[in-house]
């Protein structure tokens, strides 16, 4: 499959996802881990996995989605 450059979007996803993950680990220690955060993390990693294989139009669309939902 052809690989498309995602212009650093993958790195930005990892950065935000790591922060969110740390947050959830802290919450878990307090017995308050959130399924909602788990779902968000999964969605981010799902997009991260497929990002290089989508075309530039699709990548732009995902960038908007990630920006709206997660401020990435």
């Amino acid at each position: 499959m052809r690989i498309t450059s995602a212009n650093g979007l993958q790195e930005r996803i990892i950065k935000v996802a790591s922060e969110l993950d740390c947050e959830n680990i802290k919450l878990a220690k307090q017995g308050k881990a959130s399924d909602e955060i788990d779902n968000d993390l999964f969605e981010m990693m799902f997009i991260h996995e497929f990002l290089p294989y989508w075309n530039t139009g699709q990548i732009r669309q995902k960038e908007c989605l990630l920006n709206d939902k997660y401020n990435i």
């Binding site: 499959m1 052809r2 996995e49 497929f50 699709q58 669309q61 995902k62 989605l65």
Partner: protein, 225 residues
């Protein structure tokens, strides 16, 4: 003795890009070009054969050596000649009888492939120098590799993954709830991982490859919008 090496990659399901990557002769790679072996520019003919199992065996020759860049083999240029399909001995360019269920082929076949069928492709490279007389060639070395083509399934997975991650206003109606969507994303990720592992798993023979691709195909068909 020359031990050639090559890379072959699939592009857009219908082309294979072949590249001679035989290194130069060195103590670490005594099978390389030069020194005790022939030089790269002495190779005047390269033969590439593709064994697609029941979908046929195809051989291509070209005046090609390492300095000649990449070699693109287009499916569109290959007359389809299946080994077991019902039309194989009909005496006319292979039509669609018996071939129509082969993914990657035009519904009416048209006699030519429209894409490389999924599954194992055993690729053989043979390189030749000039023989003793004008129209003869001397075989210098052979290399065989197996690649796995999953291109059509990859495309389908990417399409579904795209639809699952459209913005809030474009929710695709093949998931009705957040839970259902999450479940589908997990299953799709598993199918994708399994497909990628199958491409590189040496212990999975061609029958095993075909069976895995078929299983994943059944799953994808069941959720494909």
């Amino acid at each position: 003795m020359l031990i050639p090496d090559f890379q072959i990659t699939q592009q857009d399901c219908n082309a294979l890009i072949f590249k001679d990557v035989t290194p130069a002769y060195s103590p670490q790679y005594p099978g390389g070009y030069g020194a005790l072996n022939v030089d790269a520019d002495e190779i005047i003919l390269t033969k590439v054969s593709l064994d697609l199992g029941i979908n046929g065996y195809y051989s291509f020759e070209r005046k090609f050596n390492q300095t000649g860049g990449d070699w693109t083999i287009n499916a569109y240029d290959i007359p389809y000649a299946p080994v077991k399909a019902g039309c194989s001995d009909c005496g006319v360019p292979c039509g669609c009888e018996g071939c129509s269920d082969v993914e990657g082929l035009d519904p009416d076949c048209g006699g030519y492939m429209t894409g490389f069928p999924e599954g194992c492709i055993v690729v053989k490279m043979e390189v030749f120098t000039q023989g003793a007389s004008e129209n003869t060639f001397q075989l210098q070395g052979t290399k065989i590799k197996r690649i796995v083509s999953t291109c059509f399934k990859d495309k389908k997975i990417l399409e579904i993954a795209d639809k699952l991650t459209l913005g809030e206003d474009c929710h695709y109606d093949f998931y009705k709830t957040k839970e259902k969507r999450r479940e589908m994303m997990q299953d799709l990720m598993l199918a994708w991982t399994k497909l990628k592992l199958t491409e590189n798993e040496v212990n999975c023979d061609c029958e095993c490859v075909a069976s895995r691709i078929k299983q994943i195909g059944i799953y994808l068909d069941s959720i494909y919008p």
